[in-house]
């Protein structure tokens, strides 16, 4: 059974079971979404200069909830960057029922265990592209049971099959608040029903405040063919200039097995086969400056201490109107560290391997 059969199955169930409710609620149904259009120019060491126009249309049908039931229907029409053809994927196609004691969600849904870090080594799906720029891997065909214990404490049990039943995985996450620190503990078992089960992950995260600083951290334990650990510590802070403009600073250090990092960032920070026995030391930072009520600039950077590779990504955002936003991004990826040229940035961050400039406009409706 492939994902398309599953989607068609879910669609039919929804239509049959809730057909009459739809009729009654039809007058309250609304429609909305966002159109994003962008043009990316890039330079790559191997392929040279190029440009890539892209567009995607997110559409959602807003159905009013009834009797503790909620249906979410949302999809994305986009241009496939590989073949340039139009493609479509369901972001949401789920039914949620809030029972007295627990919530049940069935269907295609986002499963995300973010806790405020730039990189999350203990997320449910590690495949998300660096810095949360791509949410597509978070949307999965899944069943989730959420059991709230009190206002700040709850348990989530998730079973999902990203592409085939053989790849079904399960996750369990508990969340609570201790001394104003948001604490989570989670477990993920990949490929539960395969002949040889995949990786197991255990994770603990914490987020809170120490004085004027926001602080957070995570510990991960990965059990596969070998056992490995990850550690993340980070902090954020806001500084106000006399003109009331705000500077937001966030920095984190991540010590992570290379095979886990490659699942998070793809090949972005793994420029050559890393030693499989050696954890990668990564420093990540984010600075954003609010120019005024409508515009801001920011710089996000990643630096791999092991091989000297680095990523710098700056962005400028301007809300042109209530529904239109302009965004400009410039990204630079630096490759292997160049030991020869000691007089330039290259000596610190390596050889320039890729540059991209993206100009995008989004229109919400």
């Amino acid at each position: 059974m492939n994902k398309y059969h599953l989607l068609v199955g879910f669609s039919l169930i929804f239509i049959i079971v809730f057909f009459f409710n739809f009729l009654a609620l039809a007058s309250d149904i609304t429609f909305g979404g966002q159109l994003n259009v962008s043009l990316t120019g890039f330079y790559d060491n191997q392929s040279g200069f190029g440009y890539l126009p892209q567009a995607n249309l997110d559409l959602e049908l807003f159905l009013p909830p009834w009797d503790n039931n909620e249906i979410r229907v949302a999809g994305s029409l986009y241009t496939d960057i590989v073949n340039g053809q139009l493609d479509f994927f369901w972001k949401r196609l789920y039914w949620k029922h809030r029972f007295d004691d627990f919530h049940l969600t069935i269907g295609r849904q986002p499963i995300s265990w973010s806790f405020g870090s730039l990189l999350n080594p203990v997320d449910y799906s590690l495949g998300a592209v660096a810095l949360e720029r791509d949410y597509s891997t978070k949307f999965q065909n899944a069943i989730e049971i959420y059991y709230p214990v009190n206002w700040h404490t709850g348990l989530s049990l998730v079973a999902s099959s990203p592409d085939s039943l053989e790849n079904t995985k399960i996750g369990l996450r508990g969340r609570t608040l201790i001394n104003d620190f948001d604490i989570t503990a989670q477990f993920v078992q990949e490929q539960v029903i395969a002949v040889k089960p995949g990786q197991q992950r255990f994770g603990i995260t914490a987020k809170g405040d120490i004085g004027k600083f926001g602080v957070y951290g995570a510990l991960g334990y990965y059990r596969d063919e070998k056992k490995s650990f990850s550690l993340l510590v980070g902090a954020d802070y806001s500084y106000f200039f006399p003109s009331a403009n705000r500077l937001y600073l966030q920095a984190e250090y991540l010590n992570i097995p290379p095979e886990v990092l490659s699942q998070i960032t793809g090949s972005l920070m793994i420029r050559q086969p890393e030693s499989q026995d050696k954890n990668v030391h990564l420093l990540t930072g984010n600075i954003s400056y609010q120019i005024d009520e409508f515009s801001s600039i920011g710089l996000t950077s990643l630096y791999n201490f092991n091989n000297g590779s680095a990523l710098f990504m700056s962005n400028y955002t301007n809300h042109l109107s209530t529904i239109t936003t302009l965004e400009i991004q410039v990204g630079i990826v630096m490759g292997e560290k160049n030991e020869v040229d000691a007089s330039s940035v290259v000596s610190w961050f390596g050889e320039l391997s890729q540059v991209f400039v993206e100009l995008g406009i989004s229109y919400a409706f």
Binding site: G214, A244, Q290, F294, T322, A364
Partner: protein, 252 residues
């Protein structure tokens, strides 16, 4: 005979003078604390359901954000409904703030320093918007003078933060309507004495027996030509709110 008339005249005059002084004296006797107590009785909202629009302006540019808000004392749940921010939610419980990101359906605890920042880019901080405090519990007051503001007779009061209290603004100067006991204007100062913001009420309405501001604006005095207008389109006081309303599960 003339002497008796004089005495009677004097007695009558003294009587009227006493009556006048009693009336005037009574009016003057109202203290700053009493004024603020009556202002709190009128404006302090225990719980409410609000539908509102926030218009952020700078120069000629404007951005509108619509929202629904449930509040109960120090707790609040806000959900944005305008297309660009649709589904974004904030939950404030005491001094803790959580944000729900609708795309990934993530719930993330926001660092405490963010509470002092503008809500969704506006001139209202998260605390300005999501907190209903009794000012009498946070400040000590002095009656400065009386004035006419927006054609209404007002008391002008100065409020200084009580030692040890966590407040957004160290000093406030407030114009309180003498009849309706509603704040019509407020200047908000930092401890350094610098004027940070000025809020002014543009429209008040009597709702369920209380005078409440339904249209107001907040001007950031540290920036040029920028202000945020807050318009309440619908308000229901003391609605029945489920205990689970102010919980992480309500964000999901």
């Amino acid at each position: 005979m003339i002497a008796r008339k004089k005495v009677c005249f004097i007695v009558v005059m003294v009587f009227f003078c006493l009556v006048y002084l009693t009336i005037v004296g009574f009016g003057e006797q109202i203290t700053a604390e009493e004024i603020m107590k009556r202002r709190d009785e009128n404006e302090y909202i225990h719980s409410a359901y609000v539908e509102a629009v926030m218009i952020i302006s700078k120069g000629g540019r404007k951005v509108e954000k619509t929202m629904v808000m449930y509040s109960r004392e120090k707790d609040a749940l806000v959900e944005f409904t305008n297309p660009a921010d649709r589904g974004t939610k904030f939950l404030k419980r005491g001094d803790n703030l959580w944000m729900f990101f609708p795309d990934a359906e993530d719930i993330v605890k926001i660092s405490g320093h963010m509470l002092e920042q503008g809500l969704m880019g506006s001139d209202f901080s998260y605390q300005d918007m999501m907190e209903s405090d009794k000012l009498t519990e946070l400040y000590t007051f002095t009656l400065l003078e009386e004035d006419i503001f927006l054609d209404r007779p007002c008391y002008i009061l100065e409020a200084i933060a009580l030692p040890g209290q966590k407040v957004s603004y160290y000093r406030r100067v407030a114009w309180i309507d003498q009849e309706r006991f509603i704040g019509l204007k407020e200047e908000l100062y930092a401890e350094s004495g610098r004027l940070l913001k000025v809020s002014e009420v543009q429209e008040v309405k009597e709702i369920e027996g209380r005078w409440l501001p339904v249209k107001s604006f907040m001007e950031n005095k540290l920036r040029k030509d920028t202000y945020t207008q807050f318009i309440i389109n619908k308000i229901k006081l003391n609605p029945e709110l489920d205990e689970r309303m102010f919980s992480l599960q309500s964000l999901r």
